[in-house]
């Protein structure tokens, strides 16, 4: 039997698969194309404490911080710093590998003892500030 006689030429399933594939490829290319034209905002990193998501155990406060990239472009090696207000106290730094445009990443910083700010309404403990130190362009 020759190769041509035995050929697996496209018939029903192949044509349906090709049609679905064409739709998938068009959707993917279309989405990427439209997004490429529409989105060019540089990374804008915002870090906010989330008091209700934190907890305290064995004298250590685990402070939840949501780090959000409000820009369109991705950022890498995003550095977040948590430091006490005023003088003194230990500065905590943490690093997020990648933050795509629109992505939010939740991190936890362990701080000895109770904390107050950024936990509004909590009068006990130290007042903390959450800062975005910087990032690398991806």
């Amino acid at each position: 039997m020759s190769a041509r006689e035995n050929a697996e030429n496209p018939s029903g399933i192949s044509r349906v698969t090709a049609a679905i594939s064409g739709a998938l490829v068009a959707a993917l290319i279309g989405y990427l194309g439209i997004h490429a034209i529409q989105s060019d905002e540089p990374p804008a990193i915002v870090a906010e404490a989330v008091p209700e998501a934190g907890w305290t155990r064995d004298g250590v406060t685990y402070l939840a911080i949501d780090v959000r990239n409000e820009g369109d472009e991705s950022a890498r090696d995003v550095q977040i710093q948590v430091e006490p207000e005023g003088d003194g106290g230990e500065v905590r730094r943490t690093l997020i590998d990648f933050l795509a445009g629109g992505e939010t990443s939740r991190i936890y910083v362990a701080v000895p003892g109770p904390v107050r700010e950024p936990l509004p309404g909590n009068d006990g403990g130290r007042e903390l500030r959450v800062l975005v130190v910087g990032f690398e362009e991806s």
Partner: protein
């Protein structure tokens, strides 16, 4: 149930299997997810231009159908679609894309970049998963209709791209380049060329087809050295594509990184030339 009763269904399943077998290591590679999250949409779209060319070459080299098929356009669409499907399903199943886990735009880019090696794997399904029939007539290897020199060059490109893709996205290539001493690079060049020569001409994997000793690449040394140079160019292309190097990278560092990745690429190219000779 015999697989030959539904050849049209079987070839689609074969393409899906080829996509997974060819790209599974990359679907599990962290750097590929990172590239998907950090590369711009425009950059990933640009990567699809050479991808279409490579997938077409892979279809000419082996494809996913048995026998002779003359519908390259349909096969190209099927291959790309199956690549996207395999990428979406795997990333969903392993939990790398999920609502709330990554934004939709990043998830689409992750799927898009992972779909590239999946599509290449699908287009090389028959080559990866040798069918039970050992009759060569069952292989739709349209590349063999080209002149011998062109066959060797294209087989080097197909094999080189297939192998290099498994290494190029990772950080190791650049890390190894930085950590290597200057004397390592000429040694890597010599070893790459020697291994390439050994695989194709000494290891006796396949008889060289008639006419393979003709043309500009008719001698083993010419074939080996030209294929090595092609492998270096492919390697440099991958280094640029995955942004390990840029135009601002010193030339010597670009060459060193190409030599480092070229070791992998040239072995893949040699495998491609062995397979074309089968």
């Amino acid at each position: 149930m015999s697989g030959t009763r539904y050849p049209d269904r079987d070839c689609v399943l074969r393409a899906f299997a080829g996509a997974l077998l060819g790209a599974l290591p990359l679907l599990y590679t962290m750097e590929m997810w990172w590239h998907g999250r950090t590369f711009s949409d425009g950059w990933i779209l640009a990567l699809y231009v050479p991808t279409v060319g490579v997938v077409l070459l892979c279809l000419l080299f082996g494809g996913f159908r048995l026998g002779v098929s003359g519908h390259l356009g349909i096969d190209l669409l099927i291959t790309l679609g199956i690549g996207i499907f395999a990428s979406v399903v795997t990333l969903l199943v392993v939990g790398q894309i999920a609502p709330g886990f990554v934004p939709l735009s990043a998830a689409v880019r992750m799927v898009a970049i992972e779909a590239i090696p999946c599509a290449i794997g699908a287009a090389l399904a028959v080559t990866q998963l040798r069918p039970r029939q050992r009759n060569k007539n069952h292989m739709d290897r349209r590349i063999v209709r080209l002149p011998e020199d062109a066959q060797k060059v294209l087989a080097t490109i197909v094999g080189g791209v297939f192998f290099a893709f498994n290494i190029a996205p990772t950080e190791e290539v650049w890390m190894m380049t930085i950590e290597a001493e200057p004397y390592h690079f000429p040694l890597i060049v010599l070893f790459s060329v020697a291994v390439s020569y050994g695989i194709v001409f000494l290891a006796d994997f396949a008889e060289r087809p008639e006419g393979f000793d003709q043309g500009a690449l008719g001698t083993p040394l010419a074939e080996t050295f030209v294929s090595y140079l092609i492998s270096l160019v492919i390697s440099l292309g991958f280094l640029y594509a995955f942004r390990h190097v840029s135009a601002s990278t010193p030339l010597h560092a670009q060459v060193q990184a190409a030599v480092m990745l070229g070791y992998v690429t040239t072995i893949g190219g040699s495998a491609g030339r062995v397979l074309i000779a089968e």
